[in-house]
């Protein structure tokens, strides 16, 4: 048993990276594997500082390919294991995450997006949306939570472990450099005291008993001999994913009932969008707000309910249309016009969104 890191509820004022480290402790994560990259470094720093105090472990690997595969290994051994990365590290990690999809390994990865492509900036972007949702040579059978505050980084990191283990799909917490580095308040708590269930891990390999005689064999395959065999497996996974979707999909929506324009954003940009909607409403403009929290699976149903009532949808993101594509796909067949507000690699303020919509 690991030692409890948090008892009761505490108000804290810290960086997002620190909040993630505390969340992983609160979720009773047992080991982090990692390789440093800005802006996620401090997740590792805080974890390495905190982990020994609570009987947890850390392994620094030689790169992100290894960090991804060792995380898979930790999970196969029956541990709540996680890693964190950003940018080029996220690219390298996709190979392991592709294997996690194939073997249904419930890995947890925290991504703090930086500018791209390539090294680009160490600062911020929302350009890892497509990569995190669909990276790998597969179908994107993963769960991606896009957070917008330190409270959400804390809440969804805890949740990521539980959901990953429950459904056995690789799960991602998609933050960004702003969330990583900024300081704001949040409440740290012990999830069990609030009735929030923890992940229930079990070993995939190395179980007791003779396989095939005393227990079911663990038959984990990422190689198939025939097309038909693979097709059958992937079809079953897609069915599992679709069955899970209504249970995990999450969004925020407000002011949409009478809205002529609906502003759509995810992650940190949704804060600017929300503030802009408030400001525009106070000017008498009928503007609504929609934010997908899960980017995978995407909250298609709610968006399709809201969209036809509006005259226009504005999609704002710090990328060149990565959220836009998800929205477009969700709304296929609808005729409501979509207007882009794309700032790849650049932060978006509420002031500029107000101006964009007003003029």
């Amino acid at each position: 048993m690991v030692e409890k890191a948090i008892t009761g509820e505490k108000r804290a004022f810290m960086t997002g990276n620190e909040a993630v480290a505390w969340a992983a402790l609160a979720a009773e994560a047992e080991i982090m594997y990692g390789y440093p990259i800005t802006p996620q470094n401090e997740i590792m720093h805080y974890w390495t500082r905190l982990a020994p105090k609570y009987g947890r472990k850390f392994l620094q690997t030689e790169d992100e390919i290894s960090a991804g595969f060792t995380t898979c290994g930790g999970v196969l051994a029956g541990k709540r294991a996680f890693t964190a990365t950003a940018g080029p590290g996220n690219i390298l990690m996709q190979e392991a995450m592709s294997m996690a999809e194939m073997l249904r390994i419930p890995t947890v990865v925290v991504v703090q997006q930086r500018g791209g492509p390539s090294t680009a900036t160490v600062i911020y972007s929302q350009q890892e949306t497509t990569l995190t949702c669909f990276g790998g040579n597969g179908e994107g059978l993963r769960i991606v939570y896009s957070t917008s505050s330190h409270q959400e980084l804390f809440d969804y990191t805890i949740k990521a472990f539980q959901i990953a283990w429950k459904y056995r799909f690789p799960t991602f917490v998609l933050g960004d450099g702003y969330q990583a580095k900024m300081r704001e308040s949040l409440y740290l708590y012990n999830p069990e005291e609030k009735g929030i269930p923890l992940a229930e891990p079990y070993p995939f390999l190395g179980q007791e008993g003779r396989p095939g005689v005393e227990r079911e064999p663990s038959h984990l395959r990422n190689t198939y001999n025939t097309e038909e065999e693979l097709y059958q497996i992937i079809s079953r996974y897609v069915e599992d994913y679709e069955r899970m979707t209504p249970e995990v999909v999450e969004y925020q929506a407000s002011d949409f009932e009478d809205a002529e324009i609906v502003l759509i954003a995810h992650g940190i940009v949704s804060r600017a969008a929300r503030a802009a909607v408030k400001a525009l409403r106070s000017e008498g403009l009928k503007v609504g707000y929609f934010r997908p929290i899960t980017l995978r699976p995407f909250p298609v149903g709610k968006l399709r309910e809201i969209a036809p009532k509006a005259k226009k949808l504005v999609v704002a993101e710090s990328a060149q249309g990565q959220l836009f594509k998800l929205v477009q796909e969700a709304l296929y067949g609808e005729t409501v016009p979509l207007e882009p507000y794309f700032k790849p690699g650049l932060g978006i303020t509420s002031e500029e969104l107000v101006e964009f919509i007003m003029f």
Binding site: T121, K181, M182, E184, S185, T349, S350
Partner: protein, 189 residues
């Protein structure tokens, strides 16, 4: 005071802009208010303009960065040029009076532009090391985001371990806070 106070602080790396921003938001948080601080960071280890965005509010803060600041404090010529973009008609723009040759580059659309001799006072009256604490005093007087007593507590919290070794530093820092506040009070009077 209106809902959210937005402050942009900018200076050269090493002038202590980020420390001041950190202490100010900590003070506000300790008063039970909502605060958000984000440093502008790049790949450089030192040098370049160091910029800090702070917001203090009675409710949860929105986007971490903003375009229109209530207060801009610029501590070098480059910082003046860099921060002009955060000025609008409601902005108080403060710069250090020792900065040379920027008269033509000061913002013209600000509510008010103030030059304060913080660097001069730090060198002559106090100590160059407390230059940033003078700036903090000025920022607090200009925005009233926290009480002076709360600001002192936050400085104590951050630098207490140094004060324990040399109690004169406490006096020096508190004096710096008060002098910074006086500079703004006199200029706005």
């Amino acid at each position: 005071m209106k809902g959210t106070v937005k402050i942009a602080l900018a200076g050269e790396g090493g002038q202590g802009v980020q420390s001041v921003a950190g202490i100010m938001v900590e003070a506000a948080n300790d008063e039970g208010r909502e605060a958000l601080y984000i440093p502008n960071f790049g790949v450089e280890q030192r040098g370049g303009v160091s910029l800090a965005f702070c917001q203090i509010s009675d409710e949860k803060v929105g986007a971490p960065k903003f375009r229109d600041a209530d207060l801009v404090i610029a501590l070098s010529d480059r910082a003046v040029r860099r921060t002009r973009q955060y000025v609008n008609k409601d902005t108080l723009f403060i710069y250090d009076s020792s900065i040379q040759g920027i008269e033509d580059e000061l913002p013209r659309n600000a509510k008010k532009v103030l030059a304060i001799p913080a660097l001069d006072i730090a060198k002559k009256e106090l100590h160059p090391r407390v230059f940033n604490i003078i700036i903090m005093g000025a920022a607090i007087e200009a925005t009233k985001i926290v009480e002076m007593e709360q600001a002192k507590k936050a400085v104590e919290k951050r630098l207490g371990y140094k004060f324990a070794q040399n109690p004169k530093l406490r006096e020096l820092n508190f004096k710096a806070l008060e002098r910074g506040a006086e500079l703004v009070k006199e200029s706005l009077a």
